[in-house]
Symmetry: C3
Subunit: 285 residues, 3 copies
């Protein structure tokens, strides 16, 4: 089945999925606006008494412990449990994993609970794979190329699609000893100068995942393809925004406009490169 | 007393009321900027030890449980108690009522505590009136026209002015068996594509309510008229913003500019239709 | 050592300091974007199990109790403790001090814990100095000139640099009985119409402080000079933004662009006036 990005985007517009975002308070507004721009419906709820019940209604879930409180951690547990029981797609953003112990433990636990996708920057993916010390928080101190093997190892151990954001995003899926790798180029250097461009990509990925499931649960596209589509959509919007702006304030505004303006056919222009590899031997002995 | 929207707006500018917003973290920034744009002063405090004492200073209060934590719920209780003791106006935004049990219970309790205004979308108003299943969270799955009787019933049972946001807003007041109904048109289809346009209208309504009370407590205009003015102000700003923008990112920016630029005289141009009806028989037997 | 604002700014760009912001949820996004615009790295964490450990990595810390929860208060305690143990610069924003008892107590405790800088509006500085009743929350009801002696008294009692934001900012340092006072003009009347312009200045100040410490801990400039530079940078950006916009929505966008666009040499144009005074006799008897 060839990768058909326009079809994946068309399903997103048709499905208008409801995405539950248990995410950090810094990026809630931006993430909600990103979802609304592409026609999805955002919801944020941080109370453990609400989150599990709401997850039954949601079409996809994004978990990001950036500013997690005890209540939000319980809310995430409840939502993940429901997602797994009902087979709903969910995305884990391991922000700041490896930097601080408490958070790292909680993120590692979540990573073992069958996320559909794990999306982070290079430092976070390396740290979660046990092969790096983590970044400084939201920014990455590693490059995508340097963590490709770590991403493959994480994909293999968790069963998740692993997405590494950077100058050229990498999306990895491992099945037995076969690695499918996609690289997505484009974007703009101002993107990391706008808070939430990473975190909201996790929300968008959850929306693309959700839109590829028919109401009867049948998969219309794989999680791997849906994740590529989300990253391609983001990169194209970043490129478009960079053409008309020269500072991060106006870039952020133009970026939301560009996410909204992109038509399904536009996704055919995305800079996506696919390859298949053998799983490398990651034995350290 | 005829509805004099320019006078209601002039009082808002003159009073610069202090509005306490116990609201969800997704829309705090946008709601604060909406209030600042119209000359009001926003304050957000979510600690139960602060909220009651601050409510004594505030001129109006907005309560929205969108991302409520246990502490914020206690803060809301404290603020509502003070508002009622001191006769201060307060607005309830019943976001996501009817969707999840815990939240629904808390919102129903608040609705019984004499809010001046209840403002929500059609799904929320129907659910709070006991006549619908709620929406999917922040977006509405019902139309305003379909919930007019529910809004009247809710206004009668709570004593509050009830405002339903939609393509053509409805504002309802019931006194004995007489219904006053206002419909407010205008706005722009991009408004629901910007997070917080609904929630911040609740904050603006609280500001209009507060501005119509003289320092000695005397009412210079009714809560019904103040609520209409807030909705008319919003619709006019949405219309203006839609004329110069074509995406939700730039629309949000232009909308705040338009709220700021609107002069009192401009409100005379608002598309407001008033009518008086008999309270319909809502007996279900 | 003469005040060399371009050199102070160049060090900020070179250092790209990591700033931990324990701040209110209303301004987290804006504060993060302000820091990113000037090349610093923002981090927000509100869990007490994370905050102390993260403070060991951070180059500077900003504390603002605007929407503090019990967990955030514990997180602040942990971060301040580490900052003091390790000699890291930290900034206290005493938002709403003097308005409500619980918050006032917590802010007074923090002020005694050796902040490098205390930055607030005139009402807040007066209240923290014990010479005023506080404002109404985020907006100031006092003028900068009226609270200069209070700022000096606070600087003397705490040992901190004290910065008062207003039409003409005042920055005060007291050593023995000598007062160094800087006044910084510029800015634009729309600045107080955008939420977070005050709070994010505290974050920027922390970034400037951090950037003036060499890796070996040596001071490359004083905290007084760094605080002036942050305020000058802000005022210049406000001036620039005001030239191209006429409403608070577009002003906020242009302001972030201007923070990003400002080059080190531009800071030589800042309107800064320095003077030295004797400490006035503040004995009330």
């Amino acid at each position: 089945m060839a990768l058909d990005l326009p079809a994946l985007n068309a399903r997103l517009h048709a499905a208008a999925p409801l995405i539950q975002n248990i995410t950090n308070t810094v990026v809630q507004q931006f993430s909600a606006n990103v979802l609304l721009a592409v026609g999805a419906a955002p919801a944020m709820l941080d109370h453990e008494a609400d989150a599990g019940q709401f997850a039954r209604l949601a079409n996809g879930i994004l978990i990001n412990f950036g500013t997690a409180t005890n209540q939000q951690l319980l809310a995430a547990d409840a939502a993940i449990r429901v997602a797994n029981q009902m087979g709903k797609p969910w995305v884990l953003d391991p922000v700041s994993v490896g930097v601080i112990d408490f958070r790292t433990t909680r993120i590692q636990q979540a990573a073992e609970c069958h996320p559909s996708v794990i999306r982070g920057n290079a430092s976070e993916i390396a740290a979660l794979a046990g092969q790096g010390a983590g970044g400084r928080g939201v920014d990455s101190t590693d490059e995508v190329d340097a963590v490709l093997v770590a991403a493959m190892s994480l994909a293999q151990s968790t069963g998740a699609v692993v997405a590494v954001s950077g100058a050229r995003d990498a999306i990895v899926e491992v099945s037995d000893s076969t690695v499918r790798l996609a690289r997505v180029g484009g974007g703009h250097p101002l993107m990391p100068r706008v808070i939430g461009t990473g975190c909201s990509l996790g929300s968008l990925t959850a929306a693309y995942l959700a839109a590829q499931r028919a109401p009867d649960g049948r998969r219309l596209a794989s999680d791997f393809d849906a994740t590529i589509a989300a990253h391609a959509h983001f990169k194209l919007a970043g490129e478009a925004a960079g053409k008309t702006t020269s500072g991060p304030g106006s870039f952020a505004v133009a970026f939301v406009d560009a996410l909204y303006a992109l038509q399904s056919a536009d996704l055919a222009r995305a800079d996506v490169h696919l390859e298949i590899r053998e799983m490398p031997d990651t034995c350290g002995l």
